[in-house]
C-alpha cells in the first residue's frame, strides 16, 4: 500500500530543508502550498513567455534573473513582473544573497507570493531543494522485514512471521553490521530515482527479540550499530525449507523484487536446521558484490574463463577434457 502527497507549505520547506534563508519578504505567503517536487528558474518567463511556468513550483532567481530585470526600463520591468507574479506562484527564492528590488516585492505582494533570500548559489540551492522535495513528494511504502547495511549494501531481509528475521539481524548487528529498521521499513524514491529505506520514527533503533522484548540497538551496541537511512540494493527472502522446491544450486538465477515500480535483486534463502543464516547472508553479500563486479563463478567453474552463452552452464555436465595447457 503506498501513499501520495498533494502539497507542502513553503514555511515547512524553508524550515526543514538546509536552504540558508537569511531574509523573508511578504511573510504571509509562507503558508502557500508547493505542489511540485522540482523548483524552476523562470528564464524566458520574465520576458513574457509564461507558457511553461508552473504555478505549483518554487521559483529560483539568480544573477541572470536579477541582471535581466535590472537591464529593463522601469515601465517594461513593471509589466513583466506583473504578468509573471499574476500566475500566483507559491514563492520565489533569491539566491546568492541578492537584495530584491522594491518593485519585485510590491509585484509579488499583490499576489501573496513571498520572496526568500538565500545565501546559497543557485546550483546548490536547486539540488538541496530537489533532494528535500523529492523525498517529501515520493510515494512511500511500508515493507515487512529488517533493513540492514551489510558490507555497505542496503539489504532487506523478509520472510514469514516467526521465521527468524530479527534473530538473524541481531546476529548480524553483533558481527558489526548496521540496523536501519526492524520489522517495518519505509521506502521512498529519491531525486536520483533510487529506492531509499528508513525506519518509522516511532520504532527507530528498536528491535523486537522474542524472549528479550523490545531492545534499543543504539543503547546496547552503540551509535555505530545503527543508520538513519540506506539505499536498497538487495532483498533476501527467508523461507521454510521445502524439499520439493528447486533452489538455485549454481547461483545463476537472477530474480527481482518490485518495490514502488523499481526492481531490486532478490535471493530466496531456505531456512533449515543446521544452516547458520547470518553467515550464509554474509557470504551471499560477498557473492553479490563479486557478481556485481562481473565474476560469475558458475561459468568459471566449467574450466574456461571465457563467458559462455547465458544458461550454457546448466546444459552440459561433462568435465573439461585433458588439454589444460591452452
Amino acid at each position: 500500500m503506498s501513499k501520495e502527497v498533494k502539497g507542502i507549505q513553503l514555511s515547512q520547506v524553508s524550515a526543514l530543508a538546509p536552504l540558508k534563508i537569511v531574509r523573508v519578504f511578504n511573510e504571509k505567503g509562507l503558508a502557500n502550498l508547493v505542489s511540485h517536487p522540482r523548483p524552476q528558474r523562470p528564464g524566458l518567463g520574465l520576458s513574457g513567455y509564461l507558457k511553461h511556468i508552473h504555478a505549483g513550483r518554487i521559483q529560483i532567481f539568480g544573477k541572470t534573473e536579477a541582471g535581466y530585470l535590472a537591464s529593463l526600463k522601469d515601465d517594461e520591468r513593471g509589466r513583466c513582473l506583473r504578468n509573471y507574479f499574476a500566475l500566483r506562484l507559491p514563492g520565489v527564492i533569491v539566491a546568492e544573497s541578492i537584495e530584491p528590488e522594491a518593485d519585485w516585492i510590491a509585484a509579488a505582494a499583490r499576489h501573496n507570493t513571498p520572496l526568500l533570500v538565500s545565501e546559497l548559489h543557485t546550483a546548490p540551492l536547486i539540488s538541496r531543494l530537489n533532494a528535500y522535495l523529492y523525498q517529501y513528494f515520493s510515494k512511500t511504502i511500508k515493507m515487512n522485514g529488517v533493513l540492514m547495511d551489510i558490507m555497505g549494501q542496503g539489504v532487506l531481509i523478509t520472510g514469514a512471521s516467526g521465521i527468524g528475521k530479527s534473530e538473524t539481524a541481531l546476529e548480524l548487528v553483533n558481527k558489526g553490521y548496521q540496523l536501519i529498521a526492524d520489522d517495518v521499513a519505509e521506502f521512498y524514491i529519491d531525486s536520483n530515482d533510487e529506492l531509499v529505506g528508513r525506519a518509522n520514527e516511532v520504532i527507530k533503533n528498536l528491535m523486537e527479540v522474542r524472549g528479550l522484548g523490545i531492545i534499543n540497538v543504539n543503547d546496547i551496541f552503540g551509535a555505530s550499530a545503527v543508520l538513519d537511512e540506506k539505499r536498497l540494493n538487495l532483498v533476501i527472502n527467508l523461507e521454510k525449507w521445502d524439499p520439493k522446491k528447486k533452489y538455485d544450486r549454481l547461483g545463476e538465477d537472477n530474480l527481482y523484487f518490485k518495490i514502488l515500480g523499481l526492481e531490486v535483486p532478490l535471493i530466496n534463502l531456505p531456512v533449515g536446521p543446521g544452516r547458520n543464516l547470518s553467515t550464509i547472508i554474509e557470504v551471499a553479500l560477498r557473492n553479490f558484490l563479486a557478481k556485481k563486479a562481473g565474476r560469475l563463478t558458475y561459468l568459471e567453474s566449467r574450466g574456461s574463463t571465457a563467458p559462455a552463452a547465458p544458461g550454457a552452464a546448466s546444459v552440459t555436465e561433462e568435465p573439461p577434457k585433458g588439454d589444460s595447457t591452452t
Binding site: M1, K142, N144, G162, D182, N200, V202, I203, L206, E208
Partner: protein
Amino acid sequence: MIEKKQQIFNKLGLHARAAAKLSHLANMFSADIYLIFNEDKVNAKSLLGILTLAASVGNEIILQAAGADEKEAIQAIGDLFDRKFDEEI
C-alpha cells in the same frame, strides 16, 4: 479473505502493551492478519509494525485476515479490541 471495521476503545490506543497483547494473539492463528489504518497496512503479528500505526482512542482501523482460521482470528482480535485490551474497568 475477510475484513472487519474496528474502533479503538481503550484510552491509550495501540501503545506498546496493547500492541504486545495484539501481536501475541495474532501469532496464535495461522492466517495472515493485517491492520489497516491511514492507508498503512501492517502485519498484526509484528509488534513494532503495530506501533508504527500510532493509532489512538476513537480511531477506526480495518482488520484483515486471510487463511484457514481467518474467521476465528478476526473474531478473537475484534473481541480483544472490544474488551479494551483488558486494561480498564
